[in-house]
Subunit: 336 residues, 2 copies
DNA sequence: ACAAGCGATGCAATCGATTGCCCCGACGTT
DNA sequence: AACGTCGGGGCAATCGATTGCATCGCTTGT
């Protein structure tokens, strides 16, 4: 049915081994230019496509990498995946996307499936700060790079946004607008993102010589969790005049709460998100947020992984710059 | 390094062939229960993971399917991909996602890469009404299923939303609200979605005994295209009191235009989208739209493909029901 | 003119799992 | 007691590409 290397070799009148060398640019110098030309011509005439399975079996390289994410329908991830793909593709690799749904059992299963498929390495967006599976993988020297989130285990390379800088910019800006009571609606502390932004908030407040305002901890990066935890912030007296949220969805949950309480954003309370979710610009109150370079995060992670696959090196950690996007949800505090 | 079948066989004291049969549920009956137990035990003790490349090479099945989409960062596609994955995963298949960026050359390249990886079949979301590549693939009897869009070539199975029914519901609803001059902001006519919705609009207007209002054709399913083509509709006299857009992004482009022209939606003009883009509910003017069952489209397509892989059959076409989601962008026409 | 050297190519093993074929031994039948 | 049957399992070929090693013939140096 399909055209094989032997077919090409036969058509060119050479041995399959010779055809193989002629077809591979790296070994092409080992055959005479005339032969190479004949083989190449035969290959394109027959429409030869190498069988990656056979090649992978022999070379112990599948040219496949596993991409572990919580959920593809979360708009945070598609741009990251595309960034990965943009770098991997031209290098001859394909990415296999696996959705864990934040389920540990599922993650183990998917990981096993990808190992079975001989994935050469992994891009992982599902890290928790403590992550037994990832520790084991690191121990086994499985090539991988974390994206967006890290673990406490610094032996694993990672590419993440510079959250500290992002939050610092936000707090500085709010302070410049005149805010003094700046609260934090924190994300889950088991994630580096939730924890890192919380720490960054504390540092940034200290940097502005401001008393850290009330802090509430949401148990997920969702609107519902934002609503659930946000009430605590609005109930504080004196009420904070600004809230730095752990991400956009938490901020949106808080916005709902504000509306229900008859409070105006930004008139009564300024709100800032994180990530720059695509819907933000078109919302009723366009949300001020911190944009992270999703595509670049994916692309850089892929580059790091390719390096790792070529020659194992020490674990690097890359911090990518963020950008404050000011929209309509921030303004000076109300006059008292 | 890795545990192979031979290792397992040796540990269980049997021949690799026997171990293979014991491990495969379909052939397990060919070995004695006692042997099967020993092999299974050895396999799990050693943490054996079959090498899919080796298996695929021998069985001529990679258990991989290619998923061709225009762009993963378009929110229309992630839910479809997940739907595909939900069905494919449990069946032992993995999906390889390829982004064509609507580039024909790129599509050919990606398709070749996937063939080289021995993909067993394809889920294709990039169809044009006339599509030479897909015709060739159909000719070559490559197993595939189209999603969301179809070609004119009915020899290719497809799973698409029931656009005719969706548009009919919209037009009927607008008519019930009292609209008579209902315009259509049509999408690209080279796509089945653009063309199908346009035809459906004409039919639905006829069904309501209404004169088809002005129609403008956008050259892409984007905000910019909506802005570019929408002006024509608003310039028509008498001005239409409602516009059925080919999709949500076209509708949003039109909304921008309305605002710039000092017209109110829904006060002066009602607007309806299509697809139920996730940002819609939270927009300044929440958009009325037709929701399509994205996940189900993906899931059904995957089921169809699995059937096709088991035994090639005739090309089926599946129409999935849509749902009208009424929000704030539709209201009775202004009194004149 | 001959040996050493080298470039070009052929040969065959190999990667790991699957599977058609054959063999062996136990059991049942007459 | 002899023979047929059948379940269980070993053997080896096979999938298609890669690659270390062998080989062959020609060039080059002396």
């Amino acid at each position: 049915m399909a055209v094989t290397l032997s077919d090409v070799a036969q058509a060119a009148g050479v041995h399959p081994g010779t055809a193989s060398r002629a077809l591979n640019p790296a070994t092409r110098s080992r055959v005479s230019p005339a032969t190479a030309r004949r083989v190449l011509a035969a290959a394109s005439r027959l429409g030869y496509l190498p069988n990656s399975l056979a090649r992978g079996l022999r070379t112990r390289r599948s040219y496949t990498v596993g991409i572990m994410i919580p959920d593809l329908t979360n708009p945070l991830f598609p741009p990251i995946v595309r960034g990965v793909d943009e770098v991997l593709g031209p290098a001859g690799y394909s990415g296999l996307v696996a959705n864990t749904d934040n389920d540990q059992t599922r993650e183990e299963l998917l990981f096993a499936a990808l190992r079975s498929r001989q994935a050469d390495g992994f891009i992982v967006a599902t890290a928790h700060r403590e992550h037994a599976l990832l520790d084991r993988m690191a121990e086994a020297e499985v090539p991988m790079v974390l994206v967006n989130r890290t673990t406490e285990n610094r032996a694993i390379p990672a590419v993440v946004p510079d959250e500290a800088a992002g939050i610092r910019t936000v707090v500085r800006r709010l302070a410049a607008l005149g805010h003094r009571r700046i609260a934090h609606l924190a994300g889950p502390q088991i994630l580096s993102t939730g924890h890192g932004r919380y720490r960054a908030y504390l540092d940034a407040m200290a940097g502005q010589r401001l008393e850290p305002g009330p802090v509430a901890f949401a148990d997920g990066f969702t609107e519902a969790a934002g609503r659930a935890a946000g009430g605590e912030l609005l109930a504080a007296r004196p009420r904070p005049t600004a809230v730095v949220a752990g991400n956009d969805l938490l901020a949106i949950g808080l916005l709902d709460l504000l509306q229900e309480a008859g409070l105006d954003c930004p008139g009564d309370v300024s709100v800032v998100g994180f990530n720059d979710h695509p819907m933000l610009a078109r919302m009723a109150t366009p949300l001020t947020t911190v944009r992270i370079p999703q595509r670049e995060i994916g692309a850089e992670a892929a580059r790091l992984l390719l390096d790792l696959l070529t020659e194992p090196g020490p674990a690097k950690m890359l911090l990518l710059p963020t950008q404050l996007i000011e929209r309509a949800s921030t303004a000076p505090p109300p006059a008292r």
